[in-house]
Symmetry: C2
Subunit: 203 residues, 2 copies
């Protein structure tokens, strides 16, 4: 029979295995695309047996969706950390835009992009990706509205904030194949100016 | 020996086969992703033998790059047609933005997106996709500058135009898994307002 002290390390090991699998799935997606992110490939990358991987994630869709949620959680945590460091004053809008743009780049974004691309031709994956993406979109939107102190009852404000997220997504895509950071920096600055004008901020 | 009249139908048939292969490659990319767009799958979709396909496109990269160029050419022709129909007057900016946003959507855009996603994990493809994308980016940018009558010597103008293309790319991505047209319409309107303000147009 298990004792409590037996169970605890086992639960910890199980959590660690799960975390390793999720990180491996993000890595596989980002480097090989959705087609290359099979349960077998992810298990191998994580140094876990295929059986153990399937114990945690019965199907490939379960694994990939959990990986997407994992990326989203990491991004959410990162956004919250950075939100606290956003300065007050005239540079606030630019800092917020830069924060959003940075959230849509890097390994996590590339992995998500590969999953979106894969979901476009996989109805099972697609049906599960859509609600998660909608939830994430709403969360980031709300965070940006709060950080900018934007009044969404003013016509155009909601769309201007949404456009910021769409721009960030587009910049993430432009950064997929080449290092686009220098150009992106200039666009963030200009976008922040336009956003300040649109939101009626005096700066 | 060939006579001129023998050669002509043969050249025509060859051109028709090539065009069918390119359309099939775009379809395969859009529906199955880069991993599913093999020479065999494309040949089958086009109703062409694998040997005939390889006669036109010796490698998979040749085929996919030609397909990307084919999409780009189609989009270019479509942009030129639509550019002629853009109205003068206060609604011009919105019509131009809508035109750009529409250019980054549909089967052609989805196919290109799949190819970008595939190129992220395929160095051979990547090296060939990058220069073509840069060329396209410059062409669309120049067209938008001309259509808007924007003065790129004014600070911020260049970045505002570039942001329009990045936004269009982001909206294309948002439209990949769901029908996002209604929201997109509202964002185009708001973006056109912000662009008019930024470019100092009186409207």
């Amino acid at each position: 029979m298990d004792t409590a002290s037996d169970r605890e390390p086992r639960q910890e090991r199980s959590r660690a295995t799960r975390a390793r699998l999720l990180d491996a799935a993000v890595g596989c997606l980002s480097e090989r695309g959705a087609a290359g992110a099979t349960v077998g490939a992810v298990a191998e990358r994580a140094g876990v047996s295929r059986g153990a991987a399937q114990h945690h994630f019965p199907t490939r869709e379960d694994l990939l969706l959990a990986a997407l949620r994992h990326m989203v959680d990491n991004r959410g945590a990162d956004l919250r950390r950075r939100a606290e460091a956003v300065p007050e004053g005239p540079d606030r809008t630019e800092a917020v835009v830069q924060m959003v743009v940075d959230a849509f780049s890097g390994t996590g974004f590339n992995a998500a992009l590969q999953l979106w691309a894969g979901a476009a031709s996989d109805p099972v994956l697609r049906e599960r990706v859509i609600p998660l993406e909608e939830q994430v979109g709403r969360q980031v939107h709300r965070a940006v509205v709060e950080l900018l102190g934007a009044d969404e009852t003013v016509p155009g404000t909601r769309e201007a904030v949404q456009a910021t997220l769409d721009l960030a997504r587009g910049l993430g895509l432009a950064n997929l194949l080449t290092d686009d950071r220098a150009r992106r920096r200039r666009i963030v600055r200009q976008w922040a100016r336009m956003l300040d004008q649109a939101l009626g901020a005096v700066g």
